[in-house]
């Protein structure tokens, strides 16, 4: 295990940011800390980096007890949401900073920086100031700067949070490919479940200072430990007292089965190839998503009466068992 976090707690005044958190982060993988804003994930990342000090608990990095080490001695790379560029230094000097601190020979610094700038595709911008770069370029520079010192672990705090949607998507794919090349243990914080599902090898879901679940993206999506995780990772709807994903529901117009629920289509919304149907049953409104072809083959329209059921072999949470979770999440 590369990073071992044991019983870490942190408060800011009366606010509990982390409440007895223990996590093991495996070597060489890309791990996401996922959760809503204010849930404690950034605090955890900053504690790993030594930028924040835990009130209690221990942090080990590669078997070394780092709890009392200052950030300077931890050999971690940290990438901030707002880039934290050194504004008065050129891109080249930004990337070289950590190596200069370590007093490496000039020639080595030069070749290492050039190598990294090539890796992040900023070779032709080496002499520019950060203010002359776009947000995406600045973040790539920050990443090169963090990687330059060959950190034991790379930590990214909402690295794409300040970028617009299109650049965010590009950088996300690029980060995944980059990680496949350099294989440094990487932890990144995000509140965007799509980002976590797409990029991470492993996801740690954190909410209100506690770890809700740890697992691979598939585990989390298909076997959420509780309603919070289920709701946070994707769309949900309620059928009877079961919490299900709208695309795990089926509708048909045949004779009702004992497990089916009868309802009337009250609204049809089309989003590209996806059709979202709102079905009003005797006591609730259920959302079902279908592909366009599935929908056309049903031959229904608003006002039609249909049968709804959960597709076989689908996990569904019990809505009644966890009422408070639902109220909070909605």
């Amino acid at each position: 295990m590369s990073i071992e976090i044991k019983n870490v707690a942190k408060r800011f005044g009366g606010f509990v940011a982390l409440d007895d958190v223990s996590v093991s982060i495996p070597s060489g993988q890309l791990t996401a800390l996922l959760g809503p804003s204010g849930g404690g994930k950034s605090t955890l990342l900053r504690i790993i980096a030594g930028l924040e000090r835990a009130d209690s608990g221990r942090v080990e990095i590669e078997g070394l007890d780092a709890t009392d080490l200052p950030p300077q001695k931890r050999n971690v790379g940290f990438v901030f949401q707002h880039y934290a560029a050194f504004k008065h230094l050129s891109v080249h000097r930004n990337v070289a900073f950590g190596l200069e601190i370590r007093k490496r020979p000039k020639a080595e610094i030069r070749s290492r920086v050039e190598e990294l700038l090539a890796l992040v595709h900023l070779e032709q911008f080496a002499d520019r100031l950060p203010s002359q770069l776009s947000g995406g370029q600045r973040q790539r520079m920050a990443l090169a700067r963090a990687l330059a010192v060959q950190p034991t672990v790379l930590l990214l705090d909402e690295p794409f949070g300040a970028l617009d949607a299109k650049v965010r998507k590009e950088l996300r794919e690029w980060l995944r490919r980059l990680h496949d090349e350099v294989h440094v243990t990487t932890v990144f914080v995000t509140h965007d479940q799509e980002e976590a599902l797409e990029v991470a090898d492993e996801i740690v879901v954190i909410n209100e200072g506690r770890v809700e679940q740890i697992g691979s993206p598939d585990d989390l999506y298909d076997q959420p430990a509780n309603d919070f995780v289920m709701r946070f990772l994707g769309p949900v709807t309620q059928l009877g007292d079961r919490l299900v994903r709208p695309h795990d529901l089926q509708i048909h117009t045949g004779a009702p089965d004992p497990a089916d629920v009868t309802g009337r289509i009250t609204r049809i919304t089309r989003i590209g190839f996806e059709i979202r149907a709102e079905i009003t049953t005797s006591d609730q409104i259920v959302t079902v998503t279908l592909t366009r072809n599935e929908f056309l083959s049903l031959n229904v329209e608003a006002g039609s009466t249909v049968q709804v059921r959960v597709a076989p072999q689908i996990h569904a949470g019990s809505a009644t068992g966890n009422r408070s979770e639902i109220l909070r999440a909605t």
Partner: protein, 248 residues
């Protein structure tokens, strides 16, 4: 615009015109008159020294005000910084005299010495560097410092290589203003320095005595020198600020 012209432009032009009225030679003679030259030398030299002190102390004060956690008396320090700006200069002279003058409870008497000139300049220029550095320090990107720390930079290195370069323009602007203020100081010296010719007489006092002797031409000549200094300072500050804006 007309008002501004009547009040500022025309009078300042009058100074320049009067200064050059008797030709370059007369102007040069007025400025290089032994007593005048000594006054200019004292004024500029002391203002320069005071500015150096302000660069160090002003930055330190701004640092404590912005970065130190709250402590007893911090708000009071904030108010103290502004007192030299608001206090009438003649009162400032009296204020310094009460601690460092003949009746000093500290037992030092610097009245009528060059130290008095230095102290008076130090007092009236106190706010400038503090007040230009403070907002910049508040707005500084703390994450850049954290990034430097995680890259292995020590506290001292972070200050020297990350913080100081960002503060330099503000420090320079504050230093320029403080220099200009020092050079132009008059009121606080009246009671404090004794205005001894060749020893503690500053430029402004020199101009005033020319005015009182009805020698307006030589007064204007020396005044033109002061005007030139203050204009250079204003332009310098303007250039510094424009460069900062460009850096973004």
């Amino acid at each position: 615009m007309l008002w501004f012209s009547l009040l500022v432009l025309i009078p300042l032009t009058a100074v320049i015109v009067t200064a050059s009225g008797n030709g370059w030679v007369e102007f040069w003679r007025a400025v290089t008159n032994e007593q005048t030259a000594a006054a200019i030398q004292l004024t500029v030299g002391t203002a320069f020294l005071v500015t150096l002190v302000n660069i160090v102390m002003g930055t330190m004060i701004a640092w404590v005000l912005v970065r130190d956690e709250r402590f007893f008396g911090k708000r009071a320090l904030e108010v103290l910084i502004d007192i030299p700006f608001a206090l009438p200069t003649i009162v400032a002279g009296l204020v310094l005299l009460s601690l460092y003058g003949p009746d000093s409870p500290l037992g030092v008497n610097i009245a009528n010495t060059r130290v008095a000139v230095f102290l008076a300049f130090l007092f009236v220029t106190l706010p400038f560097v503090v007040r230009t550095v403070q907002p910049v320090l508040t707005e500084l990107d703390r994450e850049a410092e954290e990034a430097a720390a995680s890259l292995g930079a020590s506290r001292f290195t972070i200050f020297r290589r990350i913080i100081l370069p960002s503060l330099t323009p503000a420090i320079a602007a504050g230093a320029a203003l403080s220099f200009a203020r020092g050079v132009s100081e008059y009121g606080s010296l009246v009671l404090l320095s004794g205005n001894l010719p060749m020893r503690t007489e500053v430029t402004s006092v020199r101009i005033l005595s020319s005015i009182e002797n009805d020698n307006l031409e030589s007064a204007a000549a020396v005044a033109a020198v002061l005007l030139a200094i203050s204009f250079v300072v204003i332009v310098a500050v303007d250039v510094i600020q424009r460069r900062v804006v460009r850096r973004g």
